[in-house]
């Protein structure tokens, strides 16, 4: 007859110890970093997936770059429509959907005086490309990952029972006071995108007026898919109040942080 109770908690398998590894590569005119947490982050399948993620971004840059004269996008803008990557059609479709979903606060078609509108999907492509690159990491078993590309962040976990999604702390840059992280959001799965004037000046155009949005501040959207977080962040930068009202009914999984 055993009277002493054997404690159960210490016998339960300890959560796996996640080591961390980071990769940095210069893609899309910025340095893109990928962080992986895994029991053994030197696994060759992880390295292969990271290489595929960077390759995805390089390809997206070759197709959609606005400053590489031979990109598919610029050739399309110059009227060479003979031979473009299939991604262009995907992005056109996404841009149409985004325009509809945001009531036109997001628009990839910019009107030009005395000419036909220019297709410029820059406001969507960065988040979309980063989300697509992160997909290559999302299929790797037993890892948690985060990918940061010029202010857009995607985090998540691969399949497998032993890695419970850890929290990634994403600092939000204070747009008004240089030198401060204004806020921190903790995300286990999903995307964080920020739109604002900041260092590059007014590069988001209000589709209603055709003018750049020039005011201090920034808009961050957190949600399950980085592509749509990016779209909503761009739309929110154009009209924060309206997007704050629209989001709960149209995309309730996405939340807006206005700084």
């Amino acid at each position: 007859m055993i009277t002493a109770e054997i404690p159960v908690a210490p016998a339960a398998p300890a959560p796996p110890v996640l080591a961390r590894r980071a990769w940095v590569e210069h893609v899309m005119g910025t340095a893109v970093s990928i962080h992986v947490r895994a029991v053994e982050p030197t696994r060759p399948d992880i390295e292969a997936a990271v290489r595929r993620a960077f390759a995805h971004l390089r390809r997206a840059d070759a197709v959609f770059s606005t400053w590489r004269a031979d990109s598919d996008l610029l050739r399309l803008q110059h009227g060479e429509v003979d031979d473009v990557h299939g991604w262009v059609a995907d992005v056109v479709e996404l841009c149409l959907e985004a325009e509809e979903r945001t009531d036109g606060l997001f628009s990839a078609w910019r009107s030009r005086e005395g000419g036909r509108p220019v297709f410029d999907p820059t406001g969507l492509v960065k988040g979309w490309a980063a989300a697509g690159a992160a997909e290559h990491l999302a299929v790797v078993p037993e890892i948690a990952y985060s990918l940061g590309a010029g202010g857009d962040v995607a985090v998540g976990v691969g399949p497998g029972p032993s890695v419970t999604a850890p929290t990634w702390r994403i600092g939000l840059e204070d747009p008004r006071t240089p030198g401060r992280v204004a806020d921190v959001v903790a995300v286990r799965r999903g995307g964080v995108a920020t739109s604002g004037a900041a260092a590059r000046g007014a590069h988001v155009v209000d589709p209603r007026t055709g003018r750049g949005v020039a005011r201090p501040g920034s808009c961050t959207v957190v949600g399950p898919d980085l592509t749509w977080a990016d779209v909503w962040a761009t739309a929110a930068w154009v009209d924060p109040e309206r997007v704050a009202r629209m989001l709960p009914e149209r995309d309730p999984e996405y939340s807006l942080i206005v700084l």
């Binding site: 110890v17 961390r20 590894r21 980071a22 910025t30 340095a31 990634w168 600092g171 260092a199």
Partner: protein, 183 residues
């Protein structure tokens, strides 16, 4: 019996040599090992005991295991959370210079000063001053990152989201400096 012991010992040391060679070449030039925000060691991924969550174990990875990769074990002390700063006996301040990172606007480079395992100062040593527009951008971007480096150290931030498209180069150079310092 002694023969078996020496045989075992030589096998283990051979294994250690083998594995350390593998990891030191396996890591590419752009790969940096970082400390986990939870305080788990960054390297020696095979050792299950080297973590603060498993009770009673010290944070030394067991050296008897032949599979502990010695090539990267230096960075197992790379724990950015202040509670786990260990064994960096109060030393004099040292300076580490990060890699020069190529960005669209030119190379950027960050230098950090480390004392007692914490970043006390970070400075940008290389900035692309190629034209006036760059000066405007960097005049804004540099102070953000100088402070951010020090702040991120306290707050344990994994990634930064912001509208500054060009700032990443500084962050990455900073990261490589942190890696060199084995924080």
């Amino acid at each position: 019996m002694r023969r078996i012991t020496t045989w075992l010992l030589s096998t283990v040391s051979a294994l250690v040599l083998l594995f350390s060679y593998h990891t030191s070449t396996g890591q590419g030039a752009t790969t940096v090992a970082l400390g986990d925000a939870n305080g788990a060691g960054a390297a020696a991924p095979d050792t299950a005991s080297g973590d603060g969550t498993s009770s009673g174990s010290s944070d030394d990875s067991s050296s008897s295991s032949g599979s502990s990769s010695s090539g990267s074990s230096d960075s197992s002390s790379a724990t950015p959370s202040p509670s786990t700063t260990k064994k960096s006996s109060s030393s004099a301040a040292k300076t580490y210079t990060g890699d020069a990172i190529q960005t669209r606007y030119g190379p950027v480079q960050v230098e950090i000063t480390v004392k007692d395992g914490k970043i006390t100062k970070s400075a940008v040593t290389q900035v692309p001053w190629s034209d006036h527009r760059d000066q405007e951008i960097n005049g804004y971007a540099v102070p953000i990152l100088n402070d951010e480096a020090v702040q991120a150290q306290d707050a344990g931030i994994d990634m930064v989201s912001g509208a500054t498209f060009t700032s990443d180069g500084y962050i990455q150079s900073l990261q490589s400096a942190i890696d060199q310092a084995n924080l």
